[in-house]
């Protein structure tokens, strides 16, 4: 228990918002440039093996859930968090990053470590370390955008938030900056206490990064429109916005006609 708290103490006093590129960063970046193709290939191969082992472990761990046939059976499944593959593989992944520093696979492994970051105090220091390595060794890496683009689908752990803030502050690439600010804004928007900050970030994206591509043909400008509306009008406690449309049979229908009843509004599709 002592070791983790020391790590946390050392890492916490981070220079927060504005961080200029320091000489240290420049040195680290040039170090990653020195990775040879052979080292890259060896790291990729080792990473794929590690990934395969991890997937197998998850498969086995989650088998009771998969085998449950009814919702009741699913509810009755009691998975032991102490036996979660995350506990073992977060450490293995972190070790991998030390064995293969600066490689593309190293960044992927760091991403896995951060994604597995739970609120478990015992492994908190590992995720902190992974975040730090991304910010120092990989701030100019091409793979950074993929790491942050869908980060908002993760639970808003301290590690994820710090990673996104760090990248948004330090990264020079507009695409990566937009992606990290977007994920950060979405995650902050999920929490009552940070919702306003989340909305401010999404508004900033609309002003500064509207033309940046989010995914395929969708731009961040298109993406944040709905997100901002959601933060402003679709929160618990908001009056549900009116829906006027045609029902499947073709008749006109409006949501407000159901006032006076408890309504389950269900967006569904049969695919």
């Amino acid at each position: 228990m002592l070791i983790p708290s020391i790590f946390v103490l050392v890492l916490l006093p981070m220079p927060d918002p504005v961080v200029t590129v320091t000489a240290e960063v420049a040195v680290e970046v040039s170090r990653t440039d020195e990775v040879t193709q052979q080292q890259q290939a060896a790291a990729t191969e080792a990473y794929e093996q590690l990934q395969a082992r991890m997937e197998e472990a998850w498969d086995e761990y989650l088998a009771p859930l998969r085998d449950a046939k009814t919702p009741e059976q699913r509810d009755a499944v009691d998975l032991d968090p102490a036996k979660s593959p995350a506990v073992i593989f977060i450490a293995e992944m972190l070790k991998f990053t030390k064995d293969h520093p600066g490689t593309d696979a190293c960044l992927l492994a760091l991403g896995e470590v951060i994604r597995m970051s739970s609120r478990d105090e015992n492994i908190f220091w590992m995720t902190e370390e992974a975040v730090e390595t991304v910010l120092v060794d990989f701030i100019e890496h091409d793979g950074l955008q993929d790491l942050v683009r869908f980060a908002h689908y993760n639970p808003p752990s301290t590690a994820i938030l710090r990673l996104l803030r760090g990248i948004a502050d330090r990264c020079e690439s507009r695409d990566v900056k937009a992606a990290s600010l977007y994920s950060l804004g979405k995650l902050l928007g999920k929490n009552d206490k940070t919702r306003r900050e989340g909305r401010d970030l999404l508004n900033r994206i609309e002003k500064e990064f509207a033309d940046v591509i989010f995914f395929r043909e969708t731009t961040y400008g298109q993406k944040v429109k709905g997100d901002i509306f959601e933060l402003e009008h679709l929160q618990i406690g908001d009056v549900a916005p009116e829906i006027i449309g045609k029902e499947i049979a073709g008749n006109l229908m409006q949501l407000s006609a159901f006032r006076g009843k408890v309504v389950v509004l269900d967006f569904w599709g049969n695919w």
């Binding site: 919702p71 509810d75 709905g226 997100d227 509306f229 959601e230 679709l234 929160q235 618990i236 406690g237 908001d238 009056v239 549900a240 916005p241 829906i243 449309g245 045609k246 029902e247 499947i248 049979a249 229908m253 949501l255 407000s256 159901f258 006032r259 006076g260 009843k261 408890v262 309504v263 389950v264 509004l265 269900d266 967006f267 569904w268 599709g269 049969n270 695919w271």
Partner: protein
Amino acid sequence: MYPHERSLVEKHPAEKFAIVGVNSDKTVEAAKEAVKKNKLSWKNFYDGGTSGAIATRWNVNGWPTIYVIDAAGVIRYKDVRGAELDAAIETLLAQMEEIGKPE
């Protein structure tokens, strides 16, 4: 999902409870077919695909997405499922009774 929803509609009186669907199938024929096949007795908006006007406005990126709205039209729960959904409905119905009681 469908059997659970059917059970909700059967369990609660129609003057106090309703499911309102927003269907995002590609064609209205597919939507009609799905309603028939799954024996859905409640009303559904047809939204004309996953990027339909309603789903876009409500910022829906995953299906199903569920909102539970109280009798006053206020959003009270988001994305509750199974037992949580049952409890949410029970809570809101009970609140309705409470408000409806004469002084």
